[in-house]
Amino acid sequence: MKRVLVLFAHPAQRTSSINLSMALRARQLESVTLVDLYAEYPRFDIDIEREQHRLLSHDIIVLQFPLFWYSTPALLKQWQDLVLEYGFAYGPKGNRLAGKTMIASVTTGGSAVDYSQHGGNKHPFPAFLLPLRQTAELCGIRFLPPFVLHAANHIDTTEARMHIDAYPVLLESLSADAFDSSSLDMLSEITTKDIAKMLARVGA
């Protein structure tokens, strides 16, 4: 059983329906520690020592956020700047996070079509996570394909409900190491259907 740390960053939770529901579901899981970053550090005064300690005591780090201007919300960037410290996460002997796993759980405003070479955003979605991926890899962290819900503001409620329901399944499967690592690596992003498929393959 691997310990999962969900770092949830959403600055406008009053208007959030999907991300907030996902976080509430994650909070109920026994193997998961959920940290609501904007609740703990409303003034951006991140407690570096405490956050580093949290990283050390978990195996899988989930960054859960809505995509803002092709990037993380500001506080999650502040978290990266402060917590992934030189000499702790990177640099000579800065290898305390090596061997851990990181995954991003992202909701986007644009649709799957928008995030393609010929769509409005001109690039496939994973391209926009390149800074996060490279940050993780520099720290020796394995960066999994992101768990994504596109067009989160526009889709109908059943699709949103499926995504919310799939989230705890994903977290528990990661914690139980239930996925076959080669089939994970073949994906560019993880969707609700992929989780079901991978679990079925393992079951068979």
């Binding site: 407690d47 570096i48 410290e85 030189y86 990177y90 640099g91 000579p92 002997k93």
Partner: protein, 638 residues
């Protein structure tokens, strides 16, 4: 004197005993008072000298009850409940009067008695029902609101009943006797009418314009017992004026209450009059009980039981379909129907009125008292039946349980000085409506001009905190500037409600710990935040980059708060803080990093502030072990 003292003694002793037992049995205090009356009167024959005086005093209890009901009338609430109030309440009262009156005809009672019984049957016991609903936390549910609306309508309906019943008097001289000799009888008709309207006008105008400045003046001088005396004076004066012009004193008191409902002294008036009302109303019920003729019961027990059962059945049979008609869910309909199935305390008032105007003899009145009392005694049983019905409804239909919304939490702000005002303004701006208390009448008055719901009163008085709703409050902010009283208020609030979150204003560090042990959840030192702001501005003025200043402020606050909570464990109850050596030592230890920065050894402070923003230094290999050692030195992150 001894005779009078003995009646007071026996009245108080029996009341204390009977009410205590009755409350323990879940029967409510009204039944207890009546039982006390039965013990004193028919059983022990202790009502002798002085009882006549006590009896006329007890009628003031009714007047005070109506004054308090009037005080509770909030025009906005009445408007919100208007559909339920007129529709549900109106049809319940009309239909029940009709049904019981017809039943009376069928049993060959004279028509006056039948109508009287109808009026009595239509009313339910506001005291018992509201208390039960509140205890069960369903006052704000659909059923609770509907029940409250019906009770409110019934309370209002009492006023025309009291006014109209004397018109049915069988012979005219008793009718005049009921009103007492009044100065109108010698006037011509038009002048009498004018005088009556004039008296009502005096209550309305005087209540609004005259009493408030007087109360304000008394309050400003801090004359608390004179305030209580004045509150009683207002009620008694209204009663006197109304009797003089031949109107019901109860009606006048109700009107006076409504006029003062919106004033800043509402809660203070309530807490002042409430104990007098409780005692005098209790006295009223005791005299009712004392007048019961037990031989009537032994001869008519079958009839009493049958009449009680019939009354409860008629009321349920009318209330349940009506509630369903008003689209209440079936569990809420059952709550209304079974909860309001008893007859109420106003029934006793109507019975004694009936006796006064000679449409009822003493024996019939005794039977009436017994029927009403039995109905009240059965109320807890009816609530048990309700629980069964609701449970079976939920299981049979598998309805979700989120139906009955519990009472919503309230916010109380005690103290409206420079501190409390800011708290209050931010709460208001964010859509919360706090109840605000302050003991300086002029402050309250000024704030009311800005539309703030503020009330005059000393938040340290537990009854005032209670009437501001501490028992159900979600949050209390104690923002007054007197350190000793702040501790008292926190202790009382904590005793009254273990779950309420208390935010308290502290004078200094020592006061902080006193508040902590008094039960406050969050403590804010009154000058800490603003001093840090000023220090930040000073640094900015001296040329420091604003974001650097912000980080320094954060670090300073964090270090200080961490030290404060580390020190809490060093506090113990036995020793006074200044005598506690470990505390003094720790106290000096907290600010060490900060003090060192002040003394010029800024390096460590700077390091904490700039943590995480240092660029990698390629010429130097910085190991995790070194980082840890440095942290231990500075004490960061603990």
């Amino acid at each position: 004197m001894t005779g009078f003292a003995f009646s007071v003694f026996s009245y108080l002793a029996c009341s204390v005993l009977a009410v205590f037992v009755s409350r323990r049995l879940g029967l409510g205090s009204v039944v207890g008072y009546i039982a006390a009356g039965v013990i004193m009167g028919p059983l022990l024959h202790m009502t002798g000298t002085g009882s006549g005086y006590l009896e006329s005093l007890s009628e003031l209890g009714i007047v005070m009850m109506l004054f308090l009901i009037g005080l509770e009338i909030d025009p906005r609430m009445v408007w919100r409940l208007r559909g339920m109030l007129l529709g549900l309440g109106g049809s319940q009262v009309t239909l029940t009067i009709a049904a019981v009156t017809l039943a009376g005809f069928a049993l060959d009672f004279p028509w006056q008695q039948s109508v009287l019984f109808g009026c009595i049957g239509a009313l339910s016991s506001t005291a018992i029902v509201l208390q039960t609903l509140e205890e069960r936390g369903v006052l704000e549910s659909d059923g609770g609101r509907a029940g409250f609306a019906i009770l409110l309508f019934q309370d209002l309906a009492v006023i025309p009943m009291l006014a109209c019943l004397p018109l049915m008097a069988t012979n005219s001289h008793t009718s005049a006797g009921a009103h007492g000799s009044n100065l109108l009888s010698s006037m011509p008709g038009w002048l009498a009418t004018m005088t009556t309207f004039g008296a009502v006008g005096v209550v309305v105008v005087g209540g609004h314009y005259l009493s408030r400045p007087v109360m304000r003046a008394i309050a400003r001088d801090g004359l608390r017992d004179i305030f209580t005396a004045f509150a009683l004076l207002v009620v008694v004066a209204i009663a006197l004026l109304m009797s003089a012009v031949g109107l019901s004193p109860a009606l006048g008191a109700f009107l006076g209450g409504v006029v003062l409902a919106n004033s800043e002294f509402k809660h203070e008036l309530q807490s002042d009059i409430e104990p007098f009302k409780g005692l005098l109303l209790g006295l009223f019920f005791v005299t009712i009980g004392a007048k019961i003729d037990l031989s009537v019961l032994t001869h008519n027990w079958a009839f009493v039981l049958a009449a009680t059962a019939a009354l409860v059945l008629i009321k349920v049979a009318i209330l349940f379909p009506l509630a369903s008609l008003f689209r209440l869910r079936s569990s809420a309909s059952w709550l209304v129907a079974l909860g309001l199935a008893q007859a109420g305390e106003f029934g006793f008032v109507l019975l004694s009125l009936g006796q006064q105007i000679d449409i009822l003899d003493a024996a019939d009145a005794s039977i009436g008292v017994l029927v009403i009392t039995l109905g009240m005694v059965f109320t807890p049983g009816l609530f048990m039946i309700l629980d069964r019905i609701v449970a079976s409804l939920e299981t049979s239909r598998n309805v979700s349980t989120e139906v009955d919304k519990p009472d919503s939490g309230t916010v109380i702000v005690a103290g409206l000085g420079r501190f409390g005002q800011i708290v209050n303004r931010m709460l208001l701006a964010s859509g919360y409506k706090p109840v605000v208390l302050d003991y300086r009448a002029d402050v309250v008055d000024d704030l009311r001009k800005f539309g703030v719901r503020s009330y005059f009163g000393d938040a340290g008085r537990s009854d005032l905190l209670a009437s501001a709703g501490i028992a159900k409050a979600e949050l209390l902010v104690v923002a007054i500037d007197d350190p000793g009283r702040t501790v008292e208020i926190v202790q009382q609030a904590r005793a009254a409600n273990p779950r309420v979150v208390i935010i308290a204003r502290a004078y200094d560090r020592i006061h902080h710990y006193r508040l902590l042990s008094a039960g406050a959840n969050h403590i804010v030192r009154e000058l800490f935040g603003s001093s840090v702001e000023a220090a930040g501005l000073a640094l900015r003025t001296l040329g420091m980059h604003p974001y650097e200043v912000e980080k320094r402020k954060n670090t300073f606050v964090q270090q200080d708060l961490a030290g404060l909570s580390r020190m809490a464990s060093l506090i113990d109850d036995e020793r006074r803080v200044p005598d506690n050596d470990r505390f003094i030592a720790g106290f000096n230890d907290i600010g060490r990093v900060i003090q060192e920065a002040m003394l010029g050894r800024r390096a460590q402070y700077d390091e904490i502030v700039s943590r995480g923003w240092n660029p990698p230094r390629l010429d130097e290999s910085h190991t995790p072990d070194q980082t840890r050692q440095e942290n231990e030195k500075t004490g960061a992150g603990e």
